[in-house]
């Protein structure tokens, strides 16, 4: 069966520090991968999605970047964190050719607090 991992689960970082969040998927190949951010009490904002290795689409211009160095690995990064980067970061995957047609499976999330 497929599983999705995210780490770390929680993170407290000072403003201006770098960030690296990792997401890995097991039990499937060539998944579509997604990074979302959720502010407290709000819905999900799609940040990046990827349909293959090295293929990244950015949804919102911001202080973050994403990379997909391996088929089932998706990394969210920042060189210098801002206070506004605080939030709950969720990674998800879906199968198939069209991410809009299939259900997505979410990881447990990373709670990031920038101080």
């Amino acid at each position: 069966s497929q599983t999705i991992h995210q780490w770390p689960a929680t993170l407290v970082q000072p403003v201006g520090s770098p960030l690296s969040l990792e997401c890995t998927v097991e039990g499937t190949s060539n998944p579509n991968l997604y990074w979302y951010r959720q502010a407290a009490g709000r819905g999900l904002q799609l940040l990046f999605y990827s349909v293959g290795i090295g293929q990244i689409s950015s949804e919102v211009p911001q202080n973050l970047s994403a990379s997909r160095p391996q088929d089932r690995q998706f990394i969210l990064s920042s060189k210098k964190l801002l206070l506004s980067d605080s939030g709950f970061y969720l990674c998800a995957w879906s199968a198939g050719q069209d991410g809009a047609r299939d259900e997505q499976y979410f990881g447990p999330g990373t709670r990031l607090t920038v101080t």
Partner: protein, 111 residues
């Protein structure tokens, strides 16, 4: 603005009652999906209804889709305290390859 918007934002009911949540969207879609999120956790997929379907059932869940009104509803029958969570609709606009999530409805079921 968001593609999908849920109504109401918050709902509080007694155990055993039915809970109805609504979702409206703006553009033509491939499908509409409902997800559940327990506090501080990831989202769990509940049900997917395609644009050519009008109603779908899964256990105590019933989802309807009216593409002429660009709206959907999620009905949870005989609610339980364990149903307490936030519920999100997500739409897949045509030719975009991605899902867009609404702001969610927070459901509280009192025992």
């Amino acid at each position: 603005s968001q593609q999908g918007e849920e109504d109401p934002q918050a709902l509080s009911i007694q155990e055993g009652e039915n809970a109805t949540m609504n979702c409206s969207y703006k553009t033509s879609i491939n499908n509409l999906q409902w997800y559940r999120q327990n506090s501080g956790r990831g989202l769990v997929h509940l049900i997917l209804i395609r644009s050519n379907e009008r109603e779908k059932h899964s256990g105590r869940l019933r989802v309807t889709l009216d593409t002429s009104k660009k709206s959907s509803s999620l009905l949870i029958t005989a609610s339980r305290a364990a149903d307490t969570a936030s519920y999100f609709c997500a739409t897949g606009p045509r030719n975009t390859g991605k899902l867009i999530f609404g702001q969610g409805t927070t459901l509280q079921v009192k025992p």
